[in-house]
């Protein structure tokens, strides 16, 4: 089933695309900080400081949605454990931020984070080694989710675990990780997780300028992630992915290595999710095991569906819209949020399987393909 109308060939990297991309980039990276910094707080378009980390959080979610769309929309892999990669990236960053606290914790222990002092541990576990250094933490943000996805994906795709079976075992994976991270003696802070951060790279995380920088980093990551996904999906590999999504056996019989193609894209997607998690943690100021909950991972799928799966911009639009709606509704009428979210799941699958961006594209294609303007007008 054709889910979306994909731009092909030269139009993909056309000047029109670059203009739109840079326009969006400027809006996010220049206009919003400018409004935040220079608009007087009482003017109509002012952005108070607290909005910046909120927007940054949405952008991290958008990158996460992008990572899911890459495997679900293009390769037909519905991972219900995408949140696990996000949380692992977040934990790597959280560990770095914990080490930056130093002696400023409640117990003032120079060697151990507070929760380990509380558990009367004597020395730092081996897997905390190196997290004093940002470079190590940054490498782990990429390596840990990437390696987990590589191993998990290799096991799964090699034995041709597909469709709902794959969805269920990815869900089992994130569930198992959640249970593991809830344990205090895992050495990751148990159910409280890690919080109370002070510095990142020597900058106070509570300062508006640091928050603005983190927001800009999220913008940059999202932009680069988008270009990467667009590059992958428009390459020859991208064609193979689309083909195997629609007829996996046929692609295999044609001589392509379905396992390798899936494995590559699954790993890239996990790394993107990990980076999103790493940028998310310093902006929200906490990471805890509930990020691993299966419900969170399924919710990512709804962001993608609402925006339009199989369209990269759709994933971003969906994540931003759904999360903005969530923030607004859980504040205004908390008990209605689950009804709305549930209705979104049902509606996007039943009524709008193409999502917002998919619908817009379909409308444009219908208009372009119409034989004559008169006929187009009649159709409308």
């Amino acid at each position: 089933m054709v889910l979306a109308y994909h731009p092909v060939g030269r139009t993909l990297w056309s000047p029109g695309f670059w203009a739109a991309f840079l326009g969006c980039g400027l809006l996010l990276a220049a206009a919003i900080p400018a409004i935040n910094l220079w608009m007087p707080p009482n003017s109509a378009v002012a952005l108070p400081d607290y909005v910046i980390p909120l927007l940054g959080k949405y952008l991290c979610y958008a990158l996460l949605a992008l990572s899911l769309d890459l495997i679900w929309g293009y390769a037909g892999i519905l991972s219900l454990g995408q949140g696990a990669f996000f949380a692992l990236g977040g934990y790597c960053m959280g560990m770095y931020l914990m080490r930056q606290i130093g002696t400023r914790g409640v117990y003032g222990n120079p060697l151990l984070p507070d929760f380990m002092v509380f558990l009367t541990w004597q020395k730092l576990p081996w897997f905390w080694w190196g997290f004093d250094h940002f470079a190590w933490a940054a490498a782990m943000v990429i390596l840990v989710p990437g390696l987990l996805a590589l191993v998990f994906g290799w096991l799964a795709f090699r034995s041709r675990v597909t469709g709902v079976y794959l969805s269920i075992i990815t869900q089992a994976m994130t569930y198992a990780l959640m249970l593991a991270f809830f344990r205090n003696d895992m050495g990751f802070g148990g159910n409280n997780g890690m919080t109370d951060y002070k510095d990142i790279l020597g900058w106070d995380v509570h300062q508006p300028v640091t928050r603005l920088s983190l927001y800009l980093a999220a913008v940059a990551a999202l932009g680069l992630g988008y270009l990467l996904c667009r590059y992958i999906t428009s390459s020859k590999l991208g064609r193979v992915l689309l083909a195997l999504r629609d007829a996996e056996s046929r692609v295999r019989f044609l001589g392509y290595s379905v396992t390798n193609a899936k494995l590559f894209v699954f790993t890239v997607s996990a790394v993107l999710a990990g980076v999103a998690g790493a940028l998310y943690v310093p902006q929200v100021g906490i990471i805890n095991p509930s990020e691993f909950s299966p419900g969170n991972s399924i919710e990512i799928a709804i962001w993608v569906s609402v925006g339009g799966r199989g369209t990269l911009s759709g994933a971003i639009v969906g994540a931003l819209l759904v999360n903005a709606a969530k923030t607004w509704l859980t504040g205004a009428a908390p008990e209605t949020w689950l009804f709305v979210l549930g209705a979104m799941f049902v509606a996007t699958t039943l009524v709008f399987p193409r999502g917002i961006v998919g619908l817009l594209r379909q409308a444009r294609w219908t208009r372009l393909r119409a034989p004559a303007p008169v006929a187009a007008g009649e159709q409308a």
Binding site: M1, W72, L78, F152, L155, A156, R158, S159, R160, V161, T162, G163, V164, Y165, S167, I168, I169, Q171, A172, M173, Y175, A176, L179, A180, F182, R183, E248, S249, P294, G295, I298, A301, I302, S305, E335, L338, F339, L341, G342, A343, M344, F345, V346, T348, T349, L350, P353
Partner: protein
Amino acid sequence: MPNPANLSLSPRKWAEREIGWVQVHLAWLAVISLILLAAVFPARADEFATLVSALGADSFVEKAQAITALGKLGDGRAVAVLTALNDGRLLKAPDGRVMVSDATKLIDPLTGADVPELKADALDRIRVNNRLRGIIEGALGGLTLFSADPAARLGAARDALRYPSADEAALLEKAIAAEKDSEIRAAMEQSLAAARLVSGAKRERLAAARTLGTTTDPQIKNLLAEVRAAPDTDPEVRQAADTALASINNRLWLVGLAANLFQGISLGSILLLAAIGLAITFGVMGVINMAHGEMIMLGAYAAYVCQQFFRAFLPPGWIDAYLVVAVPVAFLFAATVGVVLERSVIRFLYGRPLETLLATWGVSLILQQAVRSIFGSPNKEVSNPSWMTGGFDLIGGFTITRNRIVIILFCFVVLGVLALILNRTRFGLQMRAVTQNRPMASVMGIRTARVDALTFGLGSGIAGMAGVALSQVGNVSPNLGTIYIVDSFLVVVFGGVGNLMGTLVGALSLGIVNKFLEPVAGAILGKIVVLVAIILFIQGRPRGLFALRGRTAEAGG
């Protein structure tokens, strides 16, 4: 009531008369016979009388000696005396006689009879200090073995295990001679063996170790280990202790095995109930129903509503029947919701399993929030009817609770009925036909849409009944379904879809493996191990343990 002490009194009086009447050499005979009699009759009334009057002594040291001696005497009457002394109700008459004051009257501790001629306010209270209270408590502990209350005797016999000593052994021997209840005597003999193991002669110790080898009590295990480890233990005794320890460990291991097996089957039957419905809908329709857990939750709330209805509107004697009514109510309610869900959402999504998964997840969120809005978030309590409460104690502190047995039976009844429906009814035949080859079944005139709706209703209804069962072992809350949904999916995936046998084997093996891992690895780590094992298992058999073979197997993906 005849006092047994009088019987032992008369031979002594007879002996006294002998001394007065006959020559001196006959007195020797009398002394010997007295000693023999004293050994034969455990409760020596003269000594009891002497000791009781000694309680009235002025010196605390003498009192303490008398209390200790009373404790060792093993005379049941001493319990009342010592209790009275401890409570300050033991009085001393000017003539030296000691009386127990019992609220309104005075009682002679020797005979147990009223003493109407004395007045309580004319008597002195016998004083005790804290040191004496401690001694009294110790003495009473041993004496409870002679209490008139069988439960107290049993408790004392078991308590005696804790402080095995030669004194205890002597007391226990007396108590065993007087004991008529076989259960209490067995407990006393166990404690006696423990006491002898610690304090007896070598032959006694060996015999005691053999006796103790037939028990399962962890305290005895510790005791044997202590004896074994003590440096001055005789090598033969040590060997006997080793044998006894090995035999205890063996028995404990077997009990632990049985306990784990039972708990595993119990958990497995709950998983099975939760997963059967899922297996049907998944197997027949290829539909992943994420709202399945919410069907379970709805069933549990149906049980709650039934219970509240019975409490509010029906005679109190009927309350035990609510569960019987709740089962069909929950089935019908969940089945109705299931059919509505199938007709309104799922039928538009056939052949798109991932979309079905998301849509049903949305439905599950809506159902959860709806229940939360109606009943509130806090847990609801659904109580066991009286015929499901309680349980049976087995050896080694392992209890089988009745509600779990009922659930296991219920689960197998459901499974049996379902197997009959699938294999013996027209509907079952149609269902299997649709499972195996939908287009061909349709060509043969089976109304596949109707079969789908009914199948989904059946699966949801069974989930509802599972909810009733779950309400009997845990709390009922809007999140009930989410707790079981991942587990039920794993059961289905593990067992293979569309196959009741696979679901049965999957559920029971997951339940049992979980319970066997729990003591080794802890509950959470055990669960993680199971999850990882299943993820790895799927690699080897991507379609489950009992995969369908043939064309349908490929088409399902």
